[in-house]
Each structure stands twice: as structure tokens, then as C-alpha cells.
Subunit: 335 residues, 2 copies
DNA sequence: GTGAAAGCGCTAACAA
DNA sequence: TTGTTAGCGCTTTCAC
């Protein structure tokens, strides 16, 4: 990489002249500016990012800590973050906590050394289970703002972007009740997560508000054999005619299993799941889905963070932004 | 963040003494080292990464340019890269080209300003179609090594990690022929990509080597209605009893559509697709799959790059590493 | 055993 | 209009 120094030498002017010329300072003569710019162009000069960061004490880089990049929802949020960040001239450094508290702490530590100006993260499963938040608080106290999305730590004062999980499953369950479904089950493989709990509660509330209904819940471990679990569940709980699923894959499997067991979807059984478009399209009939607008969540998180970073002096109150889900009627439900 | 300067002031010693003490230099007295370390600990001192990078002229950061983070395979490679990089103390800056040549160029440009020490990337679709490679060559000539994976530009001299796509579909097709399938079709929604072409050729070769077989190919646009396309395809080409799919989602849809059309899988029709475990589990029966070992690919790419970066002086020959696919027999084929 | 000084690449206040 | 200088945080050579 060419440096100002080299350009200056070749042009027989001082470094600061070159710097000013390239930054369109009024101070420098037209002729000089022209000469400098031409040479810079020729050598494809780019100001060294590291030197700039050191000088200006900010990196224009956001640290993103994601629990699981293979989770489609989280990947999509990352996409939204990246796009919004790029729009504002920010880069993102991605760390994957792999749902581990230790790795999460480590990543936070590692990047809090001047590598980034702030963080966007979703809390790791282990962290949520153990309910640890000190590492977040410490980072914030060091002057690095955090924005949390989806899985948030309520005890930490910071900006947050969340989904109306509770309302979403509540409404989804209501809609199945309106379809006159009699036995509505809830399937989840994320019960340990804050969002998993909220989704379950939304379902429970809708069920308990209606006499003649009672909760039927299947909780699975993410890595276990879902097909078998769902099959036994269907066999054990005869006549289930409605399913609300907290994730996408179990919803797809539920549809396929129902068909396999000789049921017609949605004639005999309706299925609703949290899902993105691409996954909803995998089943026949297509899955009626609760969409979370992951990209919007990512974009919002990035906006909140960038806004906070650019106004570090003012002490803005922390915001919690709720991105509403939408209900996308496809073919796995009656209405 | 505390700096050496502040520590030095508080301890009434010089900056260099503090620096040396923290780096366990032999020069510094035991007592001093102890005092320094204690205060550093107290203030949670971390050496400023940016200053280090400037000083040492390397960032310990890898730029990763991914065409599409929502592609499960690519996301998984990213996971592999991140893990391997972290193991060696490297961070990754992620850019998403969104399959666009322009964005790819831009990202390369943007990070080639000292932000990263090298790149790992998979070539964007548009880039492959237009067959542009100058931006890669330019980056390399600026002293920033590139490692390409999966979708590579053959005209660029750099390390590469690829999959044995050709052999994989060739063998998959053979295995269907051995099952005594009579009409074997190939379904692809990635025909524009280098890997898509290779996969198709592998299939074609196997078919042409056997008289009594002829190629039946369905090419789809990624964003169009795959369910409808596959349905028409099945209806138009009666008696298809074997499917090799270049991607995972069309394989899953093919299984579901076959069932929907009254066929038994795998009794009446076998389906094989490129797929990861999690997606293969979505269909009933589970998809027999060609696994690409995405994480291994990512890890290999990271290793190649780190190795090259750490031996920039020596002029090592470029390597192309082939990560072999494995054939995972599940329930959508007879054998 | 400790400190002063230079230098990585850049910007900006100040001097000429 | 142009140049000199200091300084961002750190390491390292060379004096003391």
C-alpha cells in the first residue's frame, strides 16, 4: 500500500500538503491539488484504515456476536445488520458464540480492545439459562454500547430489538380456535430461550381463555430425533387437529408426519409455525407462517447502535423496539 | 480504555517500562513487574488492537466475502472459517456480496485499505456469469492473499478449496442406475454457477455412458415457484423414477411432490440431493444426501490463508484442495 | 534496571 | 499556499 509519505517524497512536497490536497482542503493551490490527486490515483492510494482508526479513536466497525449462524433466522438478521451497516460505512466483525457463555464472554473481551465501536448481539442459550449478565454490563461500562436483539437480557440497560413473540402465538392459537379446531398442540424445541418461553406463554394464554381447551405441549431437544418425537406425540395425543410450532423445522416435519399418518392438511389438521418464506415453501401444502422480519430486526439493531455511537456524548435513554410479526396465510391452515 | 501512558503516570515510571513489564521482558525488575501487572489487572488493561496493528503492519483479521449468507451451505462454511480463524487468534470481517459483482468489487476495495491481512471468498454469481477476475488479481498484486472456495475463478492464481462436484453427481447417478432406475432426472437451480455446471456434467456423463438412458434436466430460477415447476416437470416427464438434485430445497420438494402425486418414496422413485443433515431431516422419508462437509471446507480455507499470510516472504506455490463429498444413505433411495 | 526517542500512517493546529 | 510539529497507543533500539 502506498502511503502519504511516499507520495510526498515523489512530489517533493510535505506530507501534510498531500493529506490536505486529498481531503480537498481550501488551503492548497489548485495546481498542487491536481498533481497530488493524479499521482494518488495512479498509485491507487487509499488512506490506511488502521492509522485513521488510531487517530480518530473509532474504527467504524461493529462487533456482532451470533449464537448460531446456521439458524436461518439469525443468519437473516445478520444479513440485515450487514446491509444497514454497509449503508452507513460500517464494517462488521462476526463472532459466533455457539450458544456458549464462555465463548460469548471471550468474544466480547477480545473485541473490546479497540477493535470495534460497539456491539450487536443475541444472547447465547447457556447465558440465558445461567442468567449471567455481568459481562454485558462491564462492556457497556467500558464505553462500548450494546444492542441486543431477539434473545435479550432484561436486566441489562441497553437498546433492544425484539419480536412480539407472545402476541404472535397468542393470535395464532386464537386463529386456530376460530377455525373450530378442538385439540390444539404447541411444539417447541427452544423452550430454554427467552423467546421460547414467551411463545409458549402466548399459546397457553389463548388456550386457557377458552374453556373446553387444554394445553398440549411437546418440548424437544434441538438435536434429537424430531421426526420420531413428533410421531409419538401424534400417536399419543389422538385427534390433534391444530399445531402451533415455535420454530420452522418442527412445523415442516409436523405437516409431513400428518400426511404420512394419513391426515389431510389442512382439512384434518392445521399447522402454523414461525418461519421464513424459503423454509415455508418446502412443505406441500405450504406452511402458514408467523414471519419475524429478520432483516428488519437486523436493520433496526444497526440503526439503534449507529445512532448511539454517533451521539455518545448525549445520554440518550435506552430504547426497546418491537418489530411486529406478520401472519402469512398459506395452505396449511383453513383461514 | 486504559492506556500504557495512564498506567505509567500512576506508577511513576516510563511508558516503556510498563510495556516491557507487561510483556515479561527480562530487563525489568521483579518488583516493578509485579506492581505494573497488579495495576494493569485492576484497570483491566488490554493492549489497543489498532495501535498494535499499525505498529506491526498486520491486523490479524481476515476479510470474508460471501455471496449469500442465507444459503445454508455458505453459512456453514462461514462457521468453519470463523472457528478455525478464532483458533489461530484471527477475527473475521464479513461482507455479503449478495451475488453482485459491484458489491464484491466494493467490498474487496473497501477492506484492502489495511483493514484485513487477506481474503477468503466465494465468487458472486454475477461475477461468474460475466467472468470478471481483474479485481481479484489486483487485490493479490497489492499483496493481499486470497483463498477461494466452492465457486472459484480458475483464471486467478490463488489457493482454492473445492468440492468434487463432478464425481459426486456422477457417482450419485450411477448409484441410481444400479438401483435399476430407468428414467433419471437432474434438477438444478444453480446452473449459472461453476459448481452447478460441474454437477450437471457429472450427471450427464453417467447417463451418456449407459445406453438406454437419456438426460432429462430441469433448470429452475432460484426465486421462482419451484413447487409448480417440479410438479409440471413430473407431469410432463411421466415415469421418472430417479432424481438427482443439485441443491437441497428442490430435493425436499421433489420428495414431497412425488408423495403428493401418489408415489411411494423410495419404492417408486428415488431422490438424491446435495444437502446438509438438518435439511435432509425435513422430509419423510429422510433425504439420501451428498454431504459437502462445509465446515471442513471453511476450516481448510482458513488454514490455507493463515499459512500463506504467515509465510508471505517465501513464495509458496498455490494449492487447490479438494474436499471430498460423502454419500449419506438415508431413506429416499433403495441403496 | 529504567527511560528517552523513533516510528507505524494519518490529521490538524500552528508557524512560516 | 505550504511546511513543521505533535500526537493517537504501542514496541523496540539504544542510552544512561
Amino acid at each position: 500500500m502506498v502511503t502519504l509519505k511516499q507520495l510526498a517524497k515523489e512530489l517533493n512536497v510535505s506530507i501534510s500538503t498531500v493529506s490536505k490536497a486529498l481531503n480537498n482542503s481550501e488551503e492548497i493551490g489548485e495546481e498542487t491539488v491536481k498533481r497530488v490527486k493524479e499521482l494518488a490515483q495512479l498509485y491507487n492510494y487509499k488512506p490506511n484504515k488502521v492509522a485513521l482508526s488510531l487517530k480518530q479513536n473509532k474504527t467504524k466497525t461493529i462487533g456482532v456476536i451470533i449464537p448460531d449462524i446456521l439458524n436461518h433466522f439469525l443468519a437473516k438478521v445478520l444479513f440485515g445488520i450487514e446491509r444497514e451497516a454497509a449503508l452507513h460505512g460500517y464494517n462488521i466483525i462476526t463472532c459466533i458464540s455457539n450458544e456458549s457463555l464462555e465463548k460469548e464472554k471471550e468474544s466480547l473481551q477480545l473485541l473490546a480492545n479497540g477493535s470495534v465501536d460497539g456491539f450487536i448481539l443475541s444472547v447465547a442459550k447457556e447465558t440465558q439459562i445461567k442468567n449471567e449478565v455481568d459481562h454485558f454490563k462491564k462492556t457497556i461500562s467500558e464505553g462500548l454500547p450494546i444492542v441486543m436483539f431477539d434473545r435479550v437480557a432484561h436486566d441489562v440497560m441497553c437498546d433492544k430489538v425484539i419480536v412480539d413473540d407472545f402476541d404472535a402465538t397468542y393470535n395464532a392459537t386464537l386463529s386456530l380456535i376460530e377455525e373450530k379446531r378442538k385439540k390444539i398442540a404447541f411444539i417447541s424445541n427452544i423452550e430454554e430461550l427467552s423467546v421460547g418461553k414467551l411463545r409458549e406463554r402466548g399459546y397457553i394464554k389463548a388456550i386457557l381463555e377458552h374453556t373446553a381447551y387444554e394445553p398440549i405441549v411437546l418440548k424437544m431437544n434441538r438435536n434429537k430425533d424430531s421426526q420420531q418425537k413428533i410421531k409419538s406425540f401424534f400417536k399419543k395425543n389422538k385427534d390433534i387437529d391444530g399445531v402451533v410450532s415455535a420454530d420452522s423445522s418442527s412445523a415442516i416435519i409436523a405437516i409431513n408426519m400428518a400426511i404420512k399418518l394419513g391426515l389431510k392438511v389442512p382439512k384434518d389438521i392445521s399447522v402454523i409455525g414461525f418461519s421464513s418464506k424459503s423454509v415455508s415453501n418446502l412443505s406441500i401444502p405450504r406452511l402458514t407462517a408467523i414471519r419475524q422480519h429478520a432483516k428488519v430486526i437486523g436493520a433496526n439493531a444497526a440503526q439503534l447502535l449507529i445512532n448511539r455511537m454517533q451521539n455518545m456524548s448525549e445520554n440518550i435513554d435506552v430504547k426497546t423496539k418491537i418489530v411486529k410479526t406478520s401472519f402469512v396465510k398459506r395452505k396449511s391452515t383453513l383461514r
